[in-house]
Symmetry: C2
Subunit: 456 residues, 2 copies
């Protein structure tokens, strides 16, 4: 038992849970570039953003001064239902890999939404309720964000209208049913109840939709009704702010046992979980108090960091949302079919992009089959069946642990395990049946997509 001095799972006491979110931007030397209005190409004002988003959330989005923003008590009470999430010492994985490395993961899948998305969903629903709104609209692709938002809205008694990309709506009926069980109104997109939906249906009969189109529908719906606003589950600064609860808890748990990570790893789609996990560690790094290696993991099929360009780009394919300066493959880049639906985004959080170009954040890309191999190996020894998105971080963490085996270094690795794979069994089946393929875009493809970047 002595080797298990650090328990398998470190749970903070409820009184030790964070009372404020950490706003990393306040401590950044080079601030992330502002969002631009797509019509004027000028920085978005609060007034412009408030036409689409809740007022308090706009304030958070624009705040790069205050390092701590208090978490309202109602949100903290909801957090208590499923947080603190465990920080797990992966003893069994270490043994399996025969590595001297010490591996920890912060597990965010222990709630019905199955992922970290709930951390921001409950906050956004709360501020919508506080503003006296009747409801919110959003889009969902893989379905984790839609599920989380449905739960949050059910809790606060808000209407929740979800535009679900038609192909997912049809192929993932169970995801849709979870949202309906929580009372959400789920519409396949493109639909016939928005102008843009009708237009797309007319121009592309039989289309199965896209995230860009679903965003446009959700924004149109929200702005056409008096008491509704649009909410978004990733990319934005405000989402990273809410997700900082992951990193704050992880750091508090590690501090409690005197553990200091050498390497911190997270998978990156829009960047919300990675940004949340690393926030307090990056804050120390920026201030020169510690020197962590911090690594973003992205799919080889959608390599925004490792092969993209740092430039202003549209956030959506419909070009109705503001422009952001970010690592991007171009808003017209179409990633190959990749089962990690949550990582199929052409761009990246502006904050993380700034950290990347400043050399504070590394990035690696990994092929899909190697990710599922890692997922399976992890599941067999650690019990948890990970979401494909989360498994990108597992793969990179295992690679680092194996390097330690070779060099004999006893490094401490922390990674974010963002969610469970219960609704991803179609992808696992493909892997089990050995029908999964890898795909990396050619230089030509990326070059072509980057040529369409807007001139700002």
């Amino acid at each position: 038992m002595d080797k298990h001095k650090v328990p398998y799972k470190i749970y903070l006491e409820e009184v030790e849970m964070p009372k404020a979110w950490y706003n990393l931007r306040a401590d950044m030397v080079n601030k992330p570039a502002p969002l631009l209005n797509p019509a004027t190409l000028e920085p978005c004002t609060a007034e412009e953003l408030e036409k689409v988003f809740c007022s308090e959330l706009v304030k958070q989005e624009l705040d790069d001064v205050n390092p701590y923003i208090e978490i309202p008590e109602e949100i903290r009470n909801f957090y208590r239902m499923y947080r603190p999430s465990p920080l797990v010492r992966a003893y069994c994985l270490e043994e399996k890999l025969k590595t001297p490395a010490k591996i920890y993961y912060k597990f965010e899948g222990n709630n019905t939404s199955g992922s970290h998305k709930l951390n921001s969903a409950i906050a956004q629903a709360y501020f919508a309720k506080e503003q006296g709104l009747k409801g919110v609209t959003t889009e969902t692709g893989a379905g984790q964000w839609g599920t989380a938002l449905s739960m949050a809205c059910a809790y606060f008694g808000l209407d929740c209208k979800v535009y679900m990309v038609k192909v997912s709506y049809e192929q993932k009926p169970f995801r849709r049913e979870v949202m309906r069980t929580y009372g959400a109104d789920v519409t396949p997109s493109p639909s016939m109840d928005t102008e843009i939906g009708r237009e797309i249906n007319a121009n592309y009969p039989g289309t199965t939709g896209s995230l860009g189109c679903a965003i446009s529908e959700a924004v149109e719906k929200a702005t056409s009704m008096a008491d509704y606003k649009y909410v978004l589950g990733s990319v934005l600064n405000l989402v990273m702010l809410h997700q900082s609860v992951i990193g704050l808890e992880a750091k508090a748990a590690m501090d409690k046992y005197g553990i200091k990570p050498d390497i911190i790893i997270g998978s990156a789609g829009g960047g919300s979980n990675l940004g949340g996990l690393i926030a307090p560690f990056m804050g120390e790094k920026i201030k020169g108090k510690a020197d962590y290696r911090i690594i973003a993991v992205e799919p080889e099929s959608c390599p925004s960091f490792t092969r993209g360009k740092y430039a202003y780009d549209f956030c959506d394919t419909g070009h109705v949302a503001p422009l952001a300066k970010m690592c991007t493959l171009g808003s017209e880049f179409i990633p190959a079919a990749n089962h990690a639906g949550g990582l199929r985004y052409h761009g990246m959080s502006a904050t993380l992009s700034q950290l990347y170009v400043d050399g504070l954040l590394e990035a690696v890309s990994v092929p899909q089959t190697s990710v599922f191999e890692a997922a399976q190996e992890f599941a067999r020894v650690e019990g948890i069946l990970p979401a494909p998105e989360s498994a990108h971080a597992i793969k990179a963490a295992m690679d680092e642990a194996i390097k330690c085996r070779e060099t004999g270094e006893e490094k401490t690795i922390l990674f974010g395990l963002t969610g469970t794979g219960y609704f991803d069994m179609v992808a696992y089946k493909k892997f089990n049946d050995k029908e999964m393929e890898d795909y990396a875009p050619s230089d030509e493809e990326i070059k072509k997509a980057l040529e369409k970047l807007p001139v700002v």
Copy 2:
């Protein structure tokens, strides 16, 4: 915050976790009746049982003397990956119901198997490994047991052959994929690789199988191979023994905060989770140290306790397994289509049956739609999407809490939340679409099935 003196979730420290299982039978005045050999109708000897089951498990099955049986360290280490499970104070549900009652639930769904089944699966796999076996066989209907056993076998490097009722195999491909991801060999039953499977396929072309048939196939397969034994996930005394970890943790957590439940509630199919949850509390009740109300909840469509007979009966429809003295509807009773697959068993644990006839345990039956209504209400305020089986206990707990609202009594209610409903969305869809129906068997139906009880 003062009202939240008891935290939302009580987690024991790892060092506070039970080091021994509690064997309730040792403290029972009237012991459960012994299993009978179906050929001789004499009590089964250890030698007879060891032809089918692992030796150490047979010892546990027959032990009604030793109150505590040590949990081997390897099993305790595995438990540490997902246990202690949280004891949750349902503050949000209490507020929603406007009840003065204090509601607690022990949540067993925070692991990939999605249910309490893993508590016994890991123990059974461990003892199989210790005996030097190559693998184990089992059957699965709804799939929770098969999933849990696959995980346990992957951990100990054992082969795992699962006979999955053909209708489930076809209708629940995702459950099957989870098992395959953990390396299990999943065969639809009836199959062509056992004698009994071939016989049934010949006699009933196109049959979609039954649990009784899958049991027979799994037993035949295990006994026809040198290094394999058969394992079972419910009904048996040994399973209740392993599941006592639920009750021991719940009681330790409540004792820590000076909480004493007035009412303890669990759903009952074969009885393993209910038996495990109530074990230490029932022990105190038997010894006159406390007077808890203890309530089993069963589906109206399969009312073994409330409308069955206490008698010796076959445990399987194929009549190859031993006979047990239990509350039964008759082994030929076919429960109506009911989505709580885990509760569609004609009989009941012999131990719980004895407690019921001795007046130490109450039972209620509830209709299916009311169970899903409770499940949905619970999910919306407490966040967790429950398995239909688990929701039977939620329904009964909510009914008791509502009674408290009417009488003004501040009772403390504890119930077992055995698992999550991620793989039950077909049932939820039926409920959401208002296509779910209730069904209770007629007196005539039950009388007819009970006429076929064996004469012992």
